[in-house]
């Protein structure tokens, strides 16, 4: 399953719910305000690190660049992807769950 999360974890708890329920080998893509979870050094970093040991995690590059972030700010292990690679992820995984 591919989970797509567009909410900041500092605004709503959809990412926390997603991290809690994601199964091993699921993938999680953070986009729109969801990209704030990929920042190094926040209170959610530990939860992300734990999830990275069982799930692949991705962040949408155009969205984090639009918010003044660069690859250097991203927690190691989270891969940045383009829209084209976002499409590839939805092909690779099924179903796609939007955590709105």
């Amino acid at each position: 399953m591919l989970h797509i999360v567009n909410k900041s974890p500092f605004d709503r708890n959809s990412l926390q719910s997603c991290l809690r329920l994601a199964q091993p080998n699921d993938a999680i893509l953070m986009y729109e305000d969801g990209i704030y979870a990929a920042f190094k050094g926040t209170v959610i970093e530990n939860d992300i690190q734990t999830t990275l040991s069982k799930c692949k995690m991705y962040v949408l590059k155009p969205d984090f660049e639009a918010r003044g972030m660069n690859e250097g700010n991203v927690i190691p292990g989270i891969q940045s992807v383009s829209y084209s690679e976002f499409v590839d992820l939805t092909v690779q995984y099924s179903p796609v769950q939007a955590w709105l």
Binding site: E32, S84, T90, L100
Partner: protein, 130 residues
């Protein structure tokens, strides 16, 4: 692969419509098929041809219309959500006794069955909203 796209938010209010557009465009450029883009709730506001954004801003509505023209996309606006928000095509305007209609090029108004069909016919249904 065949994709269905659901857009639940209006333009300029939330990024959902932008994200849906960029995803749809990327999928088409990779050679995938978009079975339908369905606009629901405030998403129906993506289908009004009367918006006039500043010239240095993106025109969300025209962008959808142009993509529809280029790839022969099926852009469907939910009729019940549209009527509540004043989005009418020529026939509906006549039927409701209104003096104008505002549905943009490339969009059509239809029912929720079109969303269900998109869910059944597509390999993936991708939801964009708030």
């Amino acid at each position: 692969m065949k994709f269905g796209i659901l857009v639940n938010e209006g333009p300029y209010q939330h990024q959902a419509s932008d994200s849906a557009y960029h995803f749809t465009k990327a999928a088409l450029e990779k050679g995938h098929e978009i079975f339908r883009v369905f606009f629901y709730h405030d998403g129906v506001n993506n289908g009004t041809r009367l918006t006039v954004p500043p010239q240095d801003d993106r025109n969300v509505i025209n962008r959808w219309s142009e993509l529809a023209k280029q790839y022969n996309l099926d852009l469907v606006v939910c009729i019940a959500a549209a009527q509540r928000r004043g989005i009418l095509d020529e026939n509906e305007a006549k039927r409701q006794g209104k003096d104008a209609y505002n549905l943009a090029d490339g969009f059509r108004i239809s029912g929720l069955g079109q969303l269900i069909e998109a869910g059944i016919q597509s390999d993936r249904l991708i939801v964009f909203g708030d």
